[in-house]
Structures are given as structure tokens and as C-alpha cells.
């Protein structure tokens, strides 16, 4: 028996979480280094990952359709 695939909302939230967590980790690491490159990595990589994660989250909730309620 195989496990059922998670619904799209859950899958997208996981992807969003992964992107945001990775982006925040990058941002935190760059803040420990006082160098122009750190600034670029902060915005170019950290900011990009966080931005992508937030967009995936917004997409997930914007495209979510609640399951039809059972006739009763």
C-alpha cells in the first residue's frame, strides 16, 4: 500500500517553508560578515529565496479550493 500524495496546498506550503527557511538562513549567515559580497548575497540569494517562498505561499492560498461539503 502506498501513501497518498499530499494535497497541493500542503505540498506548496512545504515548498514555501523550505524556500523561506533557506533564504532566512542565508540572510542570517551574511549578517555575520561585514563585506560588500555579504550584502549582495543577502539580497541576491537570501532575498530571492525568501521572496520566492512568500510568492509560493500566496499562490498556495490563492489557488486553494476547499473540498466540496458532503450532501447531508
Amino acid at each position: 500500500m502506498t501513501a497518498a500524495a499530499p494535497p497541493p496546498l500542503i505540498r506548496r506550503l512545504r515548498v514555501s517553508g523550505l524556500l523561506v527557511a533557506l533564504g532566512l538562513a542565508v540572510e542570517a549567515v551574511t549578517l555575520l560578515w561585514s563585506h560588500p559580497t555579504a550584502f549582495l548575497v543577502f539580497l541576491g540569494l537570501g532575498g530571492l529565496l525568501v521572496g520566492a517562498g512568500v510568492l509560493v505561499y500566496l499562490f498556495a492560498i490563492a489557488t486553494y479550493t476547499s473540498p466540496p461539503s458532503r450532501p447531508g
Binding site: G17, L24, L31, F42
Partner: protein
């Protein structure tokens, strides 16, 4: 680790922990509380943290260490350590007339990240040139040095205002019509540093 950085890292860890909770227990979003948690950890907190981080990065870039971290700026850092009071930046740096940890920014307030959008774009170009482009042999300011940077501290100071040389040209100095550097012309002079006696070999 300075306190703002420590606070930032703590906020990042809290956000990541909340995201971890959401990723490991996605069924939480079925309830109202879980949806609020998702909104906080995947939208609000990341944006707040990125905003705070950007502000902290801009603060970092005011530091002398930040400016001198590019190889091409090293001679300018050395010029602050010259044992000769004729060197204007050295005299200011060594006598704490500018804060040592933000010495460059104190006298170059319109440089790179702190100026208008043009200055910010130039700052990004500097990083590009530093790694990929061709670094010019002579580094020059984009605009003539503005007296505003000097008068910010010296303007109104008794020693400056009472000076017999300054008095007749005070209005011209204020209007930037006569540059302070016309008389105080020994500035960084990075090409003449070889063999010059140093106050210290490294930054204190």
C-alpha cells in the same frame, strides 16, 4: 556579535522553528490557528526579518572594516595611519576627530549606499568591477569633494570661525565656491605612501 545582529539571528531562528512546525505537521493548517501560524511564518515574519536584515546590512556598510575589505581600498586605509599631521584623513582618524569604526563614511557621506539612487547603483557597480571588471589605477571621486563634509563638524567651531584665513572666504566655503582642499591638499595621497613613516602598522 553586536546586539542587533544577535536579535536578528534570534528572530530568524524563531521563524525557522515555526516553519519547521508547519512543515512537519501540515495538518495544523486545517484549523484557524494553523492558518494564522502559516501567515506569520511564511509571510509576515520573513518580510519583517528581511527588512530588518537590509537595515542591518546598510548599517554594516558604514563601517571602516566594510570599506577597506576590498583590496583596492587598502592603501586608503594605510593613509589613515601615516605619521604626518599634514595628511588630513590621518590627522582626523588618529585623533578621534572622526569615529574610527566609521571613518570613511563620516567624510564620504554621499558615497555608495548612503547617497541617492545613483550613488547606490555606483556602489553595486563597484562590487561588480571589484570581482569581474577592470579596476582603474587611479580611483577618483565622482564629484569634487563637497565642503559640506568638512563644515558639518568645523562649521561653527571657534578654532575654524576665528581663523584669519577662513574669515574672508567663509561665505565662499559655505557655498562650495572655494574648496577646503585648495589649502588642505594633503589628503589620502595613496601613491606617495611608500617609505612614509607610519604611526601604526595596523588599524588599532
Amino acid at each position: 556579535m553586536p546586539l542587533p545582529t544577535a536579535g536578528f539571528v534570534a528572530l530568524v531562528l524563531v521563524t525557522i522553528a515555526l516553519i519547521g512546525l508547519l512543515v512537519l505537521r501540515p495538518s495544523l493548517v486545517a484549523a484557524r490557528g494553523g492558518r494564522i501560524l502559516a501567515f506569520l511564518s511564511l509571510f509576515l515574519l520573513p518580510l519583517v526579518v528581511t527588512g530588518l536584515g537590509t537595515s542591518a546590512q546598510v548599517e554594516h556598510s558604514k563601517s571602516t572594516t566594510f570599506c577597506l575589505s576590498c583590496h583596492v581600498m587598502e592603501p586608503y586605509g594605510r593613509s589613515l595611519l601615516v605619521d604626518d599631521p599634514a595628511y588630513v584623513p590621518a590627522r582626523h582618524y588618529q585623533n578621534n576627530r572622526v569615529p574610527r569604526d566609521s571613518a570613511c563614511f563620516t567624510c564620504h557621506t554621499n558615497y555608495t549606499l548612503f547617497g541617492d539612487y545613483k550613488a547606490k547603483l555606483r556602489g553595486l557597480r563597484h562590487v561588480y568591477v571589484n570581482y569581474i571588471g577592470t579596476i582603474p589605477k587611479d580611483i577618483k571621486l565622482y564629484d569634487p569633494y563637497n565642503n559640506r563634509e568638512c563644515l558639518h563638524c568645523h562649521g561653527g567651531a571657534r578654532s575654524f570661525e576665528a581663523n584669519e584665513v577662513h574669515q574672508p572666504i567663509r561665505a565662499e566655503l559655505a557655498k562650495n565656491a572655494t574648496s577646503c582642499l585648495e589649502c588642505h591638499d594633503k589628503v589620502h595621497d595613496v601613491h606617495g605612501l611608500a617609505g612614509v613613516k607610519m604611526w601604526k602598522e595596523k588599524m588599532p
